[in-house]
Point group: C2
Chain length 256, copies 2
Amino acid sequence: MCELLGMSASVPTDICFSFTGLIRRGGHTGPHKDGWGIAFYDGKGCRTFHDPAASAASPIADFLRHHSIKSEIVISHIRRANRGRVALENTHPFMREMWGQNWVFAHNGQLRGIKKLSLGAYRPIGGTDSEFAFCWMLGKLRERWSNAPSDRALHRAIEELSLQIGQHGVFNMLLSNGRSLYCFRSTNLVWLTRRAPFGAATLVDEDLTVDFAKDTSPSDVVTIVATRPLTKDERWSTTPKSTLVAFRNGELKTTS
Amino acid sequence: MCELLGMSASVPTDICFSFTGLIRRGGHTGPHKDGWGIAFYDGKGCRTFHDPAASAASPIADFLRHHSIKSEIVISHIRRANRGRVALENTHPFMREMWGQNWVFAHNGQLRGIKKLSLGAYRPIGGTDSEFAFCWMLGKLRERWSNAPSDRALHRAIEELSLQIGQHGVFNMLLSNGRSLYCFRSTNLVWLTRRAPFGAATLVDEDLTVDFAKDTSPSDVVTIVATRPLTKDERWSTTPKSTLVAFRNGELKTTS
Protein backbone atom coordinates (compact mmCIF):
# COMPACT_ATOMS: atom_id res chain seq x y z
CA MET A 1 0.00 0.00 0.00
CA CYS A 2 0.96 3.62 -0.29
CA GLU A 3 0.32 6.95 1.35
CA LEU A 4 -1.29 10.02 -0.11
CA LEU A 5 -1.03 13.71 0.71
CA GLY A 6 -3.04 16.50 -0.91
CA MET A 7 -3.47 20.20 -0.31
CA SER A 8 -5.95 22.80 -1.48
CA ALA A 9 -5.35 26.40 -0.39
CA SER A 10 -6.84 29.85 -0.92
CA VAL A 11 -3.39 31.37 -1.51
CA PRO A 12 -0.11 29.81 -2.64
CA THR A 13 1.02 27.93 0.45
CA ASP A 14 4.04 25.81 1.18
CA ILE A 15 3.55 22.20 2.18
CA CYS A 16 7.01 21.63 3.70
CA PHE A 17 5.59 20.75 7.14
CA SER A 18 3.15 18.08 5.94
CA PHE A 19 5.63 16.79 3.35
CA THR A 20 8.22 16.37 6.10
CA GLY A 21 5.79 14.12 7.97
CA LEU A 22 4.89 12.15 4.87
CA ILE A 23 8.39 11.42 3.66
CA ARG A 24 9.42 10.05 7.05
CA ARG A 25 7.00 7.23 6.30
CA GLY A 26 9.00 6.51 3.16
CA GLY A 27 11.51 4.13 4.72
CA HIS A 28 11.82 5.59 8.22
CA THR A 29 8.61 5.57 10.31
CA GLY A 30 6.79 3.67 7.55
CA PRO A 31 7.59 0.98 4.97
CA HIS A 32 6.80 3.03 1.84
CA LYS A 33 10.29 2.98 0.44
CA ASP A 34 9.63 2.25 -3.23
CA GLY A 35 9.54 5.78 -4.52
CA TRP A 36 7.73 9.03 -4.01
CA GLY A 37 6.48 11.93 -6.04
CA ILE A 38 4.88 15.33 -5.67
CA ALA A 39 3.07 17.70 -8.02
CA PHE A 40 2.69 21.43 -7.35
CA TYR A 41 0.26 23.40 -9.48
CA ASP A 42 1.26 26.93 -10.37
CA GLY A 43 -1.58 28.45 -12.39
CA LYS A 44 -2.11 26.24 -15.44
CA GLY A 45 1.39 24.83 -15.05
CA CYS A 46 2.40 21.96 -12.84
CA ARG A 47 5.80 21.12 -11.42
CA THR A 48 6.45 17.50 -10.57
CA PHE A 49 9.23 15.68 -8.78
CA HIS A 50 9.54 11.90 -8.89
CA ASP A 51 12.10 9.56 -7.42
CA PRO A 52 11.99 5.76 -7.36
CA ALA A 53 14.24 5.82 -4.24
CA ALA A 54 12.98 5.91 -0.64
CA SER A 55 11.79 9.40 0.28
CA ALA A 56 13.38 9.27 3.73
CA ALA A 57 16.82 9.05 2.04
CA SER A 58 16.16 11.05 -1.13
CA PRO A 59 18.30 14.18 -1.73
CA ILE A 60 15.52 15.71 -3.86
CA ALA A 61 12.94 15.11 -1.12
CA ASP A 62 15.33 16.70 1.34
CA PHE A 63 15.78 19.68 -1.01
CA LEU A 64 11.99 20.13 -1.23
CA ARG A 65 11.65 20.02 2.56
CA HIS A 66 13.93 23.02 2.82
CA HIS A 67 12.96 25.03 -0.27
CA SER A 68 9.44 26.27 -0.04
CA ILE A 69 7.53 25.87 -3.31
CA LYS A 70 4.21 27.65 -2.81
CA SER A 71 1.19 26.23 -4.53
CA GLU A 72 -2.60 26.27 -4.29
CA ILE A 73 -2.95 22.57 -5.11
CA VAL A 74 -0.47 19.81 -4.26
CA ILE A 75 -0.68 16.04 -4.68
CA SER A 76 1.99 13.77 -3.23
CA HIS A 77 2.45 10.04 -2.87
CA ILE A 78 4.89 7.63 -1.30
CA ARG A 79 4.93 4.13 -2.62
CA ARG A 80 5.17 0.62 -1.34
CA ALA A 81 5.15 -1.41 -4.52
CA ASN A 82 2.60 -4.16 -4.96
CA ARG A 83 1.73 -4.08 -8.67
CA GLY A 84 4.44 -2.86 -11.01
CA ARG A 85 8.17 -2.98 -10.24
CA VAL A 86 10.09 -0.19 -8.51
CA ALA A 87 10.79 2.18 -11.39
CA LEU A 88 10.41 5.83 -12.27
CA GLU A 89 7.52 5.17 -14.65
CA ASN A 90 5.59 3.47 -11.83
CA THR A 91 6.03 6.37 -9.43
CA HIS A 92 2.94 8.47 -8.65
CA PRO A 93 1.56 11.06 -9.14
CA PHE A 94 0.76 10.44 -12.80
CA MET A 95 0.04 13.33 -15.13
CA ARG A 96 -1.77 13.74 -18.44
CA GLU A 97 -3.11 16.66 -20.45
CA MET A 98 -6.87 16.67 -21.06
CA TRP A 99 -8.89 19.61 -22.49
CA GLY A 100 -5.73 21.76 -22.33
CA GLN A 101 -5.44 21.17 -18.57
CA ASN A 102 -2.85 19.31 -16.52
CA TRP A 103 -4.53 16.35 -14.77
CA VAL A 104 -2.65 14.80 -11.86
CA PHE A 105 -3.57 11.58 -10.06
CA ALA A 106 -2.29 9.50 -7.15
CA HIS A 107 -3.78 6.30 -5.75
CA ASN A 108 -3.61 4.16 -2.66
CA GLY A 109 -4.92 0.60 -2.87
CA GLN A 110 -4.93 -2.44 -5.12
CA LEU A 111 -7.28 -2.96 -8.03
CA ARG A 112 -7.95 -6.48 -9.24
CA GLY A 113 -8.83 -7.08 -12.87
CA ILE A 114 -8.72 -3.39 -13.75
CA LYS A 115 -6.49 -4.09 -16.75
CA LYS A 116 -9.31 -5.96 -18.45
CA LEU A 117 -11.13 -2.66 -19.01
CA SER A 118 -10.84 -1.09 -22.46
CA LEU A 119 -8.77 2.05 -22.65
CA GLY A 120 -9.65 5.14 -24.69
CA ALA A 121 -7.36 8.01 -25.63
CA TYR A 122 -4.83 7.51 -22.81
CA ARG A 123 -2.30 4.70 -22.41
CA PRO A 124 -0.26 3.77 -19.37
CA ILE A 125 3.50 4.18 -19.62
CA GLY A 126 4.32 1.97 -16.62
CA GLY A 127 2.85 -1.24 -15.27
CA THR A 128 0.77 -0.18 -12.25
CA ASP A 129 -2.93 -0.79 -11.80
CA SER A 130 -3.09 2.84 -10.60
CA GLU A 131 -1.89 4.44 -13.81
CA PHE A 132 -4.17 2.09 -15.76
CA ALA A 133 -7.18 3.25 -13.71
CA PHE A 134 -6.21 6.89 -14.27
CA CYS A 135 -5.92 6.37 -18.04
CA TRP A 136 -9.24 4.55 -18.12
CA MET A 137 -10.96 7.34 -16.20
CA LEU A 138 -9.56 10.11 -18.41
CA GLY A 139 -10.41 8.12 -21.53
CA LYS A 140 -14.03 7.86 -20.38
CA LEU A 141 -14.23 11.57 -19.57
CA ARG A 142 -12.78 12.53 -22.91
CA GLU A 143 -15.01 10.14 -24.80
CA ARG A 144 -17.95 11.97 -23.24
CA TRP A 145 -16.72 15.56 -23.58
CA SER A 146 -14.31 17.02 -26.11
CA ASN A 147 -14.09 20.19 -24.01
CA ALA A 148 -14.24 20.68 -20.25
CA PRO A 149 -17.87 20.35 -19.09
CA SER A 150 -19.50 22.19 -16.18
CA ASP A 151 -18.05 21.59 -12.71
CA ARG A 152 -21.22 19.82 -11.65
CA ALA A 153 -21.29 17.43 -14.60
CA LEU A 154 -17.58 16.75 -14.20
CA HIS A 155 -17.96 16.04 -10.49
CA ARG A 156 -20.75 13.54 -11.10
CA ALA A 157 -18.86 11.80 -13.86
CA ILE A 158 -15.66 11.46 -11.79
CA GLU A 159 -17.68 10.09 -8.88
CA GLU A 160 -19.42 7.56 -11.09
CA LEU A 161 -16.14 6.41 -12.65
CA SER A 162 -14.50 6.22 -9.21
CA LEU A 163 -17.32 3.98 -7.99
CA GLN A 164 -16.75 1.71 -10.99
CA ILE A 165 -13.01 1.56 -10.33
CA GLY A 166 -13.73 0.98 -6.63
CA GLN A 167 -15.49 -2.25 -7.53
CA HIS A 168 -12.06 -3.65 -8.40
CA GLY A 169 -10.61 -3.19 -4.91
CA VAL A 170 -9.34 -0.38 -2.74
CA PHE A 171 -9.49 3.02 -4.39
CA ASN A 172 -8.37 5.92 -2.24
CA MET A 173 -7.36 8.62 -4.68
CA LEU A 174 -6.46 12.24 -5.17
CA LEU A 175 -7.06 13.89 -8.54
CA SER A 176 -6.81 17.45 -9.79
CA ASN A 177 -7.15 19.53 -12.93
CA GLY A 178 -5.48 22.53 -11.30
CA ARG A 179 -8.85 23.93 -10.26
CA SER A 180 -10.34 21.45 -7.79
CA LEU A 181 -8.74 18.79 -5.63
CA TYR A 182 -10.93 15.68 -5.97
CA CYS A 183 -10.75 13.00 -3.27
CA PHE A 184 -12.32 9.56 -3.26
CA ARG A 185 -12.15 7.14 -0.36
CA SER A 186 -12.65 3.37 -0.25
CA THR A 187 -10.90 2.84 3.08
CA ASN A 188 -8.48 5.53 4.26
CA LEU A 189 -8.67 9.26 3.64
CA VAL A 190 -8.75 11.98 6.28
CA TRP A 191 -8.74 15.76 6.03
CA LEU A 192 -8.63 18.95 8.04
CA THR A 193 -8.94 22.63 7.23
CA ARG A 194 -6.68 25.17 8.87
CA ARG A 195 -8.01 28.74 9.10
CA ALA A 196 -7.86 31.71 11.47
CA PRO A 197 -7.28 31.67 14.37
CA PHE A 198 -4.24 29.57 13.39
CA GLY A 199 -2.50 27.53 16.06
CA ALA A 200 0.40 25.14 16.34
CA ALA A 201 0.59 21.53 15.19
CA THR A 202 3.02 18.67 15.83
CA LEU A 203 3.84 15.90 13.37
CA VAL A 204 3.11 12.27 14.19
CA ASP A 205 6.25 11.08 12.38
CA GLU A 206 8.87 13.55 13.51
CA ASP A 207 9.40 15.72 16.54
CA LEU A 208 8.50 18.91 14.70
CA THR A 209 6.00 21.58 15.69
CA VAL A 210 4.97 24.53 13.52
CA ASP A 211 3.03 27.57 14.60
CA PHE A 212 0.91 28.39 11.55
CA ALA A 213 -0.02 31.79 13.02
CA LYS A 214 3.46 33.01 12.07
CA ASP A 215 3.28 32.53 8.32
CA THR A 216 -0.38 33.03 7.56
CA SER A 217 -2.76 35.92 7.12
CA PRO A 218 -6.25 35.84 8.67
CA SER A 219 -8.01 35.11 5.38
CA ASP A 220 -5.89 32.04 4.49
CA VAL A 221 -7.70 28.72 4.24
CA VAL A 222 -5.70 25.52 3.78
CA THR A 223 -7.06 21.99 3.58
CA ILE A 224 -4.81 18.96 3.93
CA VAL A 225 -5.92 15.47 2.88
CA ALA A 226 -3.97 12.31 3.74
CA THR A 227 -4.41 8.58 4.07
CA ARG A 228 -3.58 8.85 7.80
CA PRO A 229 -3.41 11.90 10.10
CA LEU A 230 -0.07 13.67 9.81
CA THR A 231 -0.34 15.63 13.06
CA LYS A 232 -1.18 14.41 16.54
CA ASP A 233 -2.77 17.54 18.03
CA GLU A 234 -5.33 18.50 15.41
CA ARG A 235 -8.74 17.07 14.63
CA TRP A 236 -8.77 15.10 11.39
CA SER A 237 -12.08 14.01 9.80
CA THR A 238 -12.65 11.00 7.60
CA THR A 239 -13.99 11.83 4.15
CA PRO A 240 -17.33 10.16 3.37
CA LYS A 241 -16.93 6.67 1.96
CA SER A 242 -17.54 6.07 -1.76
CA THR A 243 -18.37 9.71 -2.36
CA LEU A 244 -16.35 12.17 -4.40
CA VAL A 245 -15.32 15.18 -2.35
CA ALA A 246 -13.88 18.31 -3.97
CA PHE A 247 -11.94 21.15 -2.44
CA ARG A 248 -11.37 24.48 -4.11
CA ASN A 249 -9.33 27.36 -2.69
CA GLY A 250 -9.07 25.37 0.54
CA GLU A 251 -12.84 25.08 0.99
CA LEU A 252 -15.02 22.00 0.72
CA LYS A 253 -17.11 22.45 -2.39
CA THR A 254 -20.69 21.35 -2.39
CA THR A 255 -22.10 20.28 -5.72
CA SER A 256 -25.77 20.35 -4.85
CA MET B 1 15.12 33.15 -28.49
CA CYS B 2 16.14 30.28 -26.30
CA GLU B 3 18.89 27.73 -25.92
CA LEU B 4 18.67 23.98 -26.23
CA LEU B 5 20.75 21.16 -24.80
CA GLY B 6 20.31 17.48 -25.55
CA MET B 7 22.21 14.31 -24.71
CA SER B 8 22.14 10.76 -26.01
CA ALA B 9 24.42 8.23 -24.34
CA SER B 10 25.22 4.53 -24.47
CA VAL B 11 25.11 4.24 -20.68
CA PRO B 12 23.38 6.37 -18.03
CA THR B 13 25.56 9.48 -17.94
CA ASP B 14 25.39 12.66 -15.92
CA ILE B 15 25.02 15.94 -17.73
CA CYS B 16 26.14 18.20 -14.85
CA PHE B 17 29.07 19.66 -16.82
CA SER B 18 27.07 20.67 -19.91
CA PHE B 19 24.12 21.78 -17.78
CA THR B 20 26.45 24.04 -15.79
CA GLY B 21 27.45 25.76 -19.02
CA LEU B 22 23.89 26.06 -20.24
CA ILE B 23 22.38 27.53 -17.09
CA ARG B 24 25.04 30.28 -16.93
CA ARG B 25 23.39 31.60 -20.09
CA GLY B 26 20.13 31.85 -18.16
CA GLY B 27 20.66 35.37 -16.81
CA HIS B 28 24.44 35.43 -16.37
CA THR B 29 26.48 35.00 -19.58
CA GLY B 30 23.28 35.02 -21.66
CA PRO B 31 19.88 36.75 -21.57
CA HIS B 32 17.74 33.62 -21.29
CA LYS B 33 16.30 34.44 -17.90
CA ASP B 34 12.63 33.58 -18.40
CA GLY B 35 12.68 30.03 -17.15
CA TRP B 36 14.39 26.74 -17.75
CA GLY B 37 13.59 23.07 -17.71
CA ILE B 38 15.20 19.68 -18.07
CA ALA B 39 13.92 16.16 -18.69
CA PHE B 40 15.90 13.02 -17.81
CA TYR B 41 14.68 9.71 -19.20
CA ASP B 42 15.09 6.69 -16.97
CA GLY B 43 13.84 3.66 -18.87
CA LYS B 44 10.22 4.34 -19.83
CA GLY B 45 9.96 6.94 -17.09
CA CYS B 46 10.98 10.56 -17.36
CA ARG B 47 11.89 13.00 -14.63
CA THR B 48 11.36 16.67 -15.36
CA PHE B 49 12.30 19.85 -13.59
CA HIS B 50 10.83 23.20 -14.59
CA ASP B 51 11.28 26.65 -13.15
CA PRO B 52 9.97 29.93 -14.57
CA ALA B 53 12.82 31.77 -12.78
CA ALA B 54 16.26 32.49 -14.28
CA SER B 55 18.41 29.36 -14.27
CA ALA B 56 21.53 31.25 -13.17
CA ALA B 57 19.76 32.08 -9.88
CA SER B 58 17.54 29.00 -9.47
CA PRO B 59 18.04 26.84 -6.34
CA ILE B 60 16.70 23.78 -8.19
CA ALA B 61 19.12 24.33 -11.08
CA ASP B 62 21.93 24.66 -8.56
CA PHE B 63 20.79 21.43 -6.87
CA LEU B 64 20.86 19.60 -10.23
CA ARG B 65 24.36 20.89 -10.97
CA HIS B 66 25.60 19.20 -7.83
CA HIS B 67 23.48 16.02 -7.74
CA SER B 68 24.25 13.75 -10.60
CA ILE B 69 21.11 12.30 -12.20
CA LYS B 70 22.33 9.75 -14.72
CA SER B 71 20.30 9.29 -17.87
CA GLU B 72 20.66 8.00 -21.40
CA ILE B 73 18.57 10.79 -22.93
CA VAL B 74 18.30 14.35 -21.65
CA ILE B 75 16.56 17.40 -23.11
CA SER B 76 17.02 20.83 -21.56
CA HIS B 77 15.99 24.36 -22.47
CA ILE B 78 16.51 27.86 -21.16
CA ARG B 79 14.03 30.45 -22.22
CA ARG B 80 13.97 34.03 -23.32
CA ALA B 81 10.26 34.69 -23.72
CA ASN B 82 8.97 36.00 -27.00
CA ARG B 83 5.55 34.33 -27.42
CA GLY B 84 3.70 33.45 -24.22
CA ARG B 85 4.26 35.14 -20.86
CA VAL B 86 6.82 34.02 -18.28
CA ALA B 87 4.96 31.23 -16.51
CA LEU B 88 5.45 27.62 -15.52
CA GLU B 89 3.07 26.34 -18.21
CA ASN B 90 5.18 28.08 -20.88
CA THR B 91 8.44 26.54 -19.71
CA HIS B 92 10.02 23.89 -21.95
CA PRO B 93 10.54 20.99 -22.29
CA PHE B 94 6.92 19.98 -22.88
CA MET B 95 5.81 16.42 -22.31
CA ARG B 96 2.93 14.26 -23.53
CA GLU B 97 2.15 10.55 -23.56
CA MET B 98 1.69 8.98 -27.00
CA TRP B 99 1.48 5.22 -27.72
CA GLY B 100 2.30 4.56 -24.05
CA GLN B 101 5.60 6.47 -24.36
CA ASN B 102 6.75 9.72 -22.81
CA TRP B 103 7.37 12.28 -25.56
CA VAL B 104 9.47 15.30 -24.65
CA PHE B 105 10.02 18.39 -26.81
CA ALA B 106 11.95 21.66 -26.63
CA HIS B 107 12.16 24.37 -29.27
CA ASN B 108 14.28 27.38 -30.16
CA GLY B 109 12.82 29.90 -32.59
CA GLN B 110 9.64 31.75 -33.43
CA LEU B 111 6.81 30.35 -35.51
CA ARG B 112 4.44 32.75 -37.23
CA GLY B 113 0.86 31.70 -37.88
CA ILE B 114 1.37 28.24 -36.39
CA LYS B 115 -1.75 28.60 -34.26
CA LYS B 116 -3.93 28.65 -37.37
CA LEU B 117 -3.22 24.93 -37.87
CA SER B 118 -5.88 22.47 -36.70
CA LEU B 119 -4.99 20.41 -33.67
CA GLY B 120 -5.76 16.73 -33.21
CA ALA B 121 -5.67 14.73 -29.97
CA TYR B 122 -3.29 17.05 -28.09
CA ARG B 123 -4.00 20.53 -26.75
CA PRO B 124 -1.57 23.13 -25.49
CA ILE B 125 -1.79 24.06 -21.80
CA GLY B 126 0.21 27.29 -22.09
CA GLY B 127 0.35 30.01 -24.72
CA THR B 128 3.62 29.39 -26.60
CA ASP B 129 3.93 28.74 -30.31
CA SER B 130 6.37 25.96 -29.33
CA GLU B 131 3.91 23.88 -27.32
CA PHE B 132 1.32 24.42 -30.05
CA ALA B 133 3.73 23.05 -32.68
CA PHE B 134 4.50 20.04 -30.45
CA CYS B 135 0.78 19.29 -29.97
CA TRP B 136 0.16 19.66 -33.69
CA MET B 137 3.01 17.27 -34.53
CA LEU B 138 1.89 14.62 -32.04
CA GLY B 139 -1.71 14.96 -33.22
CA LYS B 140 -0.62 14.29 -36.80
CA LEU B 141 1.48 11.27 -35.78
CA ARG B 142 -1.33 9.80 -33.76
CA GLU B 143 -3.88 10.44 -36.48
CA ARG B 144 -1.67 8.32 -38.73
CA TRP B 145 -0.75 5.53 -36.31
CA SER B 146 -2.66 4.26 -33.30
CA ASN B 147 0.43 2.31 -32.22
CA ALA B 148 4.12 3.13 -32.56
CA PRO B 149 5.19 2.53 -36.19
CA SER B 150 8.63 1.35 -37.37
CA ASP B 151 11.61 3.59 -36.60
CA ARG B 152 12.07 4.37 -40.25
CA ALA B 153 8.44 5.38 -40.85
CA LEU B 154 8.47 7.45 -37.67
CA HIS B 155 11.69 9.20 -38.65
CA ARG B 156 10.32 10.17 -42.05
CA ALA B 157 7.04 11.40 -40.60
CA ILE B 158 8.74 13.55 -37.95
CA GLU B 159 11.04 15.03 -40.60
CA GLU B 160 8.11 15.81 -42.88
CA LEU B 161 6.15 17.45 -40.05
CA SER B 162 9.25 19.40 -38.95
CA LEU B 163 9.67 20.75 -42.47
CA GLN B 164 6.04 21.87 -42.43
CA ILE B 165 6.47 23.58 -39.06
CA GLY B 166 9.74 25.12 -40.29
CA GLN B 167 7.80 26.96 -42.98
CA HIS B 168 6.37 29.11 -40.18
CA GLY B 169 9.74 30.44 -39.02
CA VAL B 170 12.75 29.22 -37.07
CA PHE B 171 12.43 25.63 -35.86
CA ASN B 172 15.44 24.27 -34.02
CA MET B 173 14.10 21.44 -31.91
CA LEU B 174 14.91 18.46 -29.76
CA LEU B 175 12.39 15.65 -29.40
CA SER B 176 12.49 12.23 -27.82
CA ASN B 177 10.31 9.22 -27.10
CA GLY B 178 12.86 7.78 -24.67
CA ARG B 179 14.45 5.72 -27.43
CA SER B 180 15.89 8.18 -29.95
CA LEU B 181 16.92 11.82 -29.58
CA TYR B 182 15.55 13.60 -32.66
CA CYS B 183 17.11 16.92 -33.70
CA PHE B 184 15.93 19.34 -36.37
CA ARG B 185 17.76 22.52 -37.33
CA SER B 186 16.51 25.63 -39.12
CA THR B 187 19.37 27.88 -38.00
CA ASN B 188 21.37 26.82 -34.92
CA LEU B 189 22.15 23.31 -33.75
CA VAL B 190 25.58 21.83 -33.15
CA TRP B 191 26.70 18.48 -31.82
CA LEU B 192 29.71 16.44 -30.83
CA THR B 193 30.30 12.86 -29.76
CA ARG B 194 32.66 12.03 -26.93
CA ARG B 195 34.20 8.55 -26.98
CA ALA B 196 37.47 6.84 -26.03
CA PRO B 197 40.13 8.10 -25.78
CA PHE B 198 38.36 10.66 -23.60
CA GLY B 199 40.07 13.98 -22.93
CA ALA B 200 39.37 17.18 -21.08
CA ALA B 201 37.00 19.98 -22.05
CA THR B 202 36.51 23.55 -20.84
CA LEU B 203 33.21 25.39 -20.78
CA VAL B 204 32.67 28.57 -22.79
CA ASP B 205 30.47 30.11 -20.08
CA GLU B 206 32.33 29.28 -16.91
CA ASP B 207 35.92 28.64 -15.97
CA LEU B 208 35.36 24.93 -15.53
CA THR B 209 37.32 22.04 -17.03
CA VAL B 210 36.38 18.38 -16.76
CA ASP B 211 38.54 15.41 -17.62
CA PHE B 212 36.06 12.90 -19.01
CA ALA B 213 38.68 10.13 -18.85
CA LYS B 214 38.13 10.02 -15.08
CA ASP B 215 34.46 9.04 -15.04
CA THR B 216 34.06 7.03 -18.20
CA SER B 217 34.76 3.52 -19.37
CA PRO B 218 36.28 2.88 -22.84
CA SER B 219 33.02 1.74 -24.39
CA ASP B 220 31.01 4.84 -23.38
CA VAL B 221 29.65 6.99 -26.18
CA VAL B 222 28.02 10.32 -25.37
CA THR B 223 26.61 12.83 -27.86
CA ILE B 224 25.77 16.38 -26.83
CA VAL B 225 23.57 18.64 -28.98
CA ALA B 226 23.17 22.37 -28.33
CA THR B 227 22.15 25.58 -30.06
CA ARG B 228 25.71 26.93 -29.58
CA PRO B 229 28.93 25.14 -28.60
CA LEU B 230 29.19 24.72 -24.84
CA THR B 231 32.93 24.02 -24.74
CA LYS B 232 35.79 26.00 -26.29
CA ASP B 233 38.34 23.24 -26.86
CA GLU B 234 36.31 20.56 -28.64
CA ARG B 235 35.17 20.33 -32.23
CA TRP B 236 31.44 20.89 -32.64
CA SER B 237 29.70 20.09 -35.94
CA THR B 238 26.58 21.74 -37.27
CA THR B 239 23.70 19.34 -37.89
CA PRO B 240 22.47 19.33 -41.50
CA LYS B 241 19.90 22.02 -42.19
CA SER B 242 16.23 21.02 -42.61
CA THR B 243 17.02 17.35 -42.05
CA LEU B 244 15.93 15.24 -39.10
CA VAL B 245 18.88 13.72 -37.31
CA ALA B 246 18.45 10.95 -34.73
CA PHE B 247 20.84 9.71 -32.09
CA ARG B 248 20.47 6.46 -30.22
CA ASN B 249 22.77 5.18 -27.47
CA GLY B 250 25.06 8.11 -28.25
CA GLU B 251 25.50 7.18 -31.91
CA LEU B 252 24.20 8.97 -34.98
CA LYS B 253 21.53 6.77 -36.46
CA THR B 254 21.23 6.44 -40.19
CA THR B 255 17.81 5.67 -41.55
CA SER B 256 18.72 4.68 -45.08
